[in-house]
Symmetry: C2
Subunit: 347 residues, 2 copies
Amino acid sequence: MNNPLPPLLRALSGQALPTPPIWLMRQAGRYLPEYRATRATAGGFLDLCRSPDLATEVTLQPIRRYGFDAAILFSDILIVPDALGQKVSFTEGEGPKLTPLRDCQDFATLGIGNGFRDSVAPIYQTVRQLRQALAPEVTLIGFAGSPWTVATYMVEGGGSKEFLAVKQMAFGDPGLFQSMIDLLVEASFDYLVGQVDQGAQVLQLFDSWAGALPEGEFERWVVEPTRKLVARLKAARPDIKIIGFPRGAGVLAELYAEQTGVDGLSLDSSQRLAWAVERLSPKVTLQGNLDPVLLLTGGAAMRRAVDHILETTKGVPFIFNLGHGILQQTPPEHVGELVALVRQGRA
Amino acid sequence: MNNPLPPLLRALSGQALPTPPIWLMRQAGRYLPEYRATRATAGGFLDLCRSPDLATEVTLQPIRRYGFDAAILFSDILIVPDALGQKVSFTEGEGPKLTPLRDCQDFATLGIGNGFRDSVAPIYQTVRQLRQALAPEVTLIGFAGSPWTVATYMVEGGGSKEFLAVKQMAFGDPGLFQSMIDLLVEASFDYLVGQVDQGAQVLQLFDSWAGALPEGEFERWVVEPTRKLVARLKAARPDIKIIGFPRGAGVLAELYAEQTGVDGLSLDSSQRLAWAVERLSPKVTLQGNLDPVLLLTGGAAMRRAVDHILETTKGVPFIFNLGHGILQQTPPEHVGELVALVRQGRA
């Protein structure tokens, strides 16, 4: 390549940039009036994810408005169980619903066959259209849920507060649970390679419920499957950059940074940044971690937090982001102010 | 005193005991048939907390059954807002409900006057009865919610997932929120001194939602009010031992251990124990942190986790506990097995 790498890829290659690249988790979403307008023309939420033209449009909306350094494919982590044969439904105002999987017989109905590939084909088309539409300096991020987090939805049948069913299965019947995790590693590999082949330059693995596991089990069900998935992806597509997001992992993020092989680690808002710079950034590019409620609130508290993040990460490879997805009540002008603050850079 | 200190107080005085003392958060509760029987004779949940004979009975039930090293007063952290004048109701199967506080006028209705003292008087009587009923080697623990966590319930009007209202108030109107926190420091001080004067030997401060704040705000709303409360309690009652439980604090637990002045720090189940031993135990006695789902599941996974905890904390001051309250589905015999495992000690 003769062109210089775009900022996000430079940061993920270990460069500390004076102005960090910025994108926001869930940057295409309900806080934007143009998203709500497009959303109203689609049927169900997964129909929107599987309509290449509409999904391309909503992915591009925040790029046009704010000029972020990266576009993230508009999709959902539950595309994978749905494609495996465990149908997912979304009801407005509620979380996703699945028929919970509880035993071997339930698992036997799932698999990566033609049904899987047909089901994810529209997503690949969206990725292809996006890469064609985006300017070269805007990096395209593909994604999937991590095996552990996707498994929580599959076993619980939706979101959960205490993760009783999935943790009881993981702790009490680890053989059965391992077979489920193995299937998810396999399906995620297949799905993510497909995204890379259509133009995704970076992959993010969302592990929203990593914080639900105690340390021994975290190693077994978060670190180990992620390590396998990352190793297989890098063996198959050596140029791909991978960001992991083990939300709620706290101190265990260090184990994750050391053992999974990810290039970047996304920090949730409760992480102590100076610790992450000291302990994690020798191994990974850091990403994060403004509290979405600070972005929603705006004003002095937001500016103070942004300054703190920019100061603390000076001199290390870093990508500015939120610590969790943007909230739908966020005033769009706060996002504009944030981008300006980050771009005006470190004093 | 001529008698040796009981194990829990020795651990909190900085002694590393070969067999750590053990108690469990929410050890008096629905997993016990004798609790359910007593509960059925009371009216509402707060009525049970305010009936000295019934509250004494349920507090003693797990001591009789398992011989724990400590009894914890059966009560609720929402006793304080209720006594301040913001009435709290519990509906079976749902969380607590309060009329949310949103502005200065809402706050103006609250105060620590005769109504407050009348409202908490039955709790003090329970503490007195408990200390009389307990053997000298069983330590009596009193408690309160920490100001931040109690404030979340008062502003949100109950439990919350994203803490939007309370965080927006804390970030956007810090003067108003500070006045609320100050009132809670004052009320908690008053309430906890009352418990100490009736026989509580240890106090635990439950900060269930400490993990909801980013670092600068964590310092301001979790660490600083806790530091003030601990300093005032220790000035007023120099012998009292205090355990803090900043749940979900992750790496920020170090700031909490360094700056609040607590004697003990209770670790949630997601904390990495070797890190806590290295970074926190020079400053505080550690407590924790078996995952309640491992206790519920039992078997090999539980035994492995207990071994890991006992091995990792060898040689440092430690109290065995869960990382969060016991789950109501827990088989009582698993608790018996756990106590035996801990008492049979480190190999």
